[in-house]
Symmetry: C2
Subunit: 192 residues, 2 copies
């Protein structure tokens, strides 16, 4: 189409109209400490905070949040259409790993922009994953009979979606019409 | 507030309602080759494409787009509330710089999520900036009387917002109610 023709002008009007609808979301995000809904999954983080009744802890690395009892949480989300694991940290070292072992986790699964499920996990349930990372960091990992040299940090190791779905407690499932349930209550009442 | 209390449930309803409004924007973005409006400024890129009547070139590094005459453009945007310069490339080397010198540029200024102005620039107008980068890459830069060693790449050098506002042709100004004008026509008719 030509610049300024009817199709072009209609396209501009459509975007302007859709943009107007974003302002409410942007204002709500700002009130939750998220100043850009278009960067770093800002809008998705807002959605998870509201559903799980968590507050963002500002100025922290990652998506740390705190619940009504003062318990801190690690939050992760992933788009199942694009990845098979949750991103963690671009420079995962022993300090980060130690922190990861002290807090419960909230994992959200999206299909593009649609939230599908949320799982809560105790840190000890993630130990099979953490132990592998630790062996990397300590140089105790063995591959094909050979020791793998220790590294100071691992670049963004993933937590598989499948592992979380199999080992976490589901506190929200859109298709099944399940939840949301309180993540802390769900972990407290878990038998594992 | 307590998990599941009235305030919490109202918050969830509000987010659900706002989310419904995102679906139109997300669908439009997908039609323009942008598969996530919440990552890498996806929604803002969509807005610029529609306003400037450009098409995204898929699979390219950066935000390359093409206009109705087949001319390729480099697109950049920045939030004036957060930064004072446009990000360029995390690994800017001689190959990228050579490409930057061959295409016109479209620079968008946002105030948070609100588009304020768009400027078009010929690559030769950016030469004062490019020349500095080149001196870094070639090791011909001198600082305090000493030569600075050449580097293979520069990590994300910035193009100052101020430089663009002073040297570019404005094709859209929200406050002034100006435009949008065709960026290619604006460059063709520029006296500079």
């Amino acid at each position: 189409m030509k610049f300024g023709d009817e199709e072009h002008l209609l396209g501009i009007a459509q975007v302007n109209s859709l943009w107007g609808e974003l302002r409410g979301l942007s204002a709500l995000a700002l009130a939750h400490g998220i100043d850009d809904i278009f960067q770093d999954n800002g809008a998705k983080v807002l959605q998870q905070l509201v559903i799980a009744n968590l507050k963002l802890l500002p100025g922290r690395e990652g998506n740390d949040a705190i619940d009504e009892d003062g318990q801190e949480w690690e939050m992760k989300s992933a788009n199942v259409e694009k990845v098979s694991g949750y991103s963690t940290h671009h420079h995962l070292n022993k300090v980060i790993l130690a922190k990861y072992r002290t807090v419960p986790w909230l994992f959200s699964v999206y299909r593009h922009i649609e939230l599908q499920t949320i799982y809560a996990m105790k840190p000890e349930w993630l130990e099979p994953i953490f132990a592998v990372w630790q062996s990397h960091l300590e140089g105790t990992k063995v591959s094909r009979g050979k020791a793998v040299p220790a590294v100071l940090a691992i670049n963004n190791p993933k937590i598989p979606l499948k592992f979380v779905a199999e080992n976490g407690v589901c506190i929200f499932d859109r298709e099944q019409g399940l939840g949301p349930f309180s993540p802390s209550a769900a972990l407290r009442s878990s038998y594992r």
